[in-house]
Amino acid sequence: MTAHAHTSHTKLIWKVFIILSVITIVEVVLGIAKPDILHLTQLLGTSPLNLLFILLTLVKAYYITWFFMHMADEKKNLRRAVVWTAVFLICYLVALLLIEGAYLHEVLGSLTRW
């Protein structure tokens, strides 16, 4: 698969669409059913269900970026410049803010009366 090949990729596009649809349907079914074993247990500070949702979202993001946005066809340099910058900065930001959020909860939680 090269950037300037003038062959049609229609088949690949529909395949990616089916993959994205199946993932979305799985997410929606799990989101409605919320199986207790996944929803009410704890894993890495949240429920396994939430981790599964985040994982499936990242898979969807991969398919959209790689095949719909044709990142797979770009030169390695462009791909790394865009993807790694985003991955590194977003992980950094999310880690800091979630740690601070948990800290705020710890400090303020005892001050809230229910």
């Binding site: 003038h6 049609s8 979305t24 009410l40 985040i54 340099n77 803010l97 909860h105 809230t112």
Partner: protein, 326 residues
């Protein structure tokens, strides 16, 4: 100083180096870096949402109880279906966009026109759906009572299901009218009065023995809102300050006002991206029709606007996860 660089690809960015490290045209590369910066903006918003959510982890509204509407199905509890439909609409318009890009690479003008048209229609349908979602959120579903310290109290029946205030509130006629500028002091006005007064709700609560209240607090064991036994409920209602119906930037019947603020801000910002995407798509659509890119010899402009459109879809995938699923 004019430097001529031999190049066999006129569409590429010849940034002073024959090796062309990024191998993409100037426009396409800039679109990628714009998308990168926009992705960082959105991740800033979503992680700020994460921070506030972690801060109020025990009292945050449960999305399943907030977004429960579906067109033509009144009164049914349909969590997630509508937003899943919206996701499919956006994914499908992404597919038609990538089909337009694919047709453009093969120089098939008619096909590009057709797929661009479908993409624009998909974008408009999505915008309409989002407007409907906002309308439901703003109008609210059950109504609640806010206490003096800002906490939200919701009413539930004997089965623990939320019930509408109208179902039990006393039907007393109120003489209280909204104060407008043309009556009394011209510099004083107030917002629209809630459909029910606090007295009506509390009187109704006292006369209906089957109902009780629940607070915003989430039971860690069952991940459901804690229901307060009826004999303790009046202690809460004694502190009631006003009746809340629906959600806006100042108050939210579903719980934390910040939830409404983030919802309006993030989905609004995303919706604005969709709107600008639709407008850019329409401009490119007409350019395709009048044959601009046919004369130029390539359809790279369709690819660039396609990148933006797919990015909008990509952001929605994350908004969907963090607002509706997690």
């Amino acid at each position: 100083m004019e430097v001529t660089i031999p190049t066999n690809d006129t569409g590429s960015w010849n940034g002073g180096d024959r090796s062309r490290p990024l191998g993409a045209s100037y426009g396409k590369m800039m679109m990628w870096f714009f998308i990168l910066s926009d992705a960082l903006t959105f991740s800033g918003f979503l992680s700020a949402y994460g921070l506030i959510r972690f801060k109020f982890i025990e009292t945050w509204p449960i999305a399943d109880e907030v977004f429960t509407h579906f067109p033509f199905l009144h009164g049914t509890h349909a969590p997630m279906y509508y937003v899943a439909l919206m996701t499919f609409i956006l994914i499908f318009s992404s597919v038609t966009m990538v089909l337009a890009v694919d047709a453009g690479r093969q120089m098939k003008q008619k096909k590009v026109v057709f797929y661009m048209f479908l993409t624009i229609v998909g974008g408009l349908v999505f915008l309409g759906s989002q407007a409907w979602e906002w309308k439901n959120f703003i109008q609210g579903s059950y109504g609640a009572v806010q206490l003096n310290d800002g906490r939200i109290i919701q009413f539930v029946d004997a089965f623990g299901h939320q019930i509408e205030l109208e179902k039990f509130a006393a039907n007393s006629h109120s003489e209280r009218v909204q104060h407008t500028k043309n009556k009394g002091l011209w510099f004083v006005e107030e917002t629209a009065l809630p459909p029910l007064s606090l007295e009506q709700v509390i009187t109704g609560f006292k006369t209906h023995p089957g109902i009780t209240i629940r607070t915003e607090e989430i039971d860690a064991e069952t991940k459901a809102k804690k229901i307060i036994p009826r004999d303790q409920a009046m202690a809460y209602l004694a502190e009631a300050s006003n009746v809340v119906k629906g959600a806006n930037l100042k108050v939210n019947e579903y719980g934390k006002t910040l939830f409404a603020d983030f919802f309006f801000f993030i989905t609004g910002f995303h919706g604005f991206h969709v709107l600008s995407g639709v407008i850019i798509n329409i401009i490119i659509f007409f350019n395709v029709i009048i044959g601009t890119y046919e004369r130029r010899g390539h359809y790279e402009m369709v690819e660039k606007v396609g990148l933006y459109w797919h990015f909008v879809d990509l952001v929605w995938v994350f908004v969907f996860t963090f607002f509706y699923l997690v």
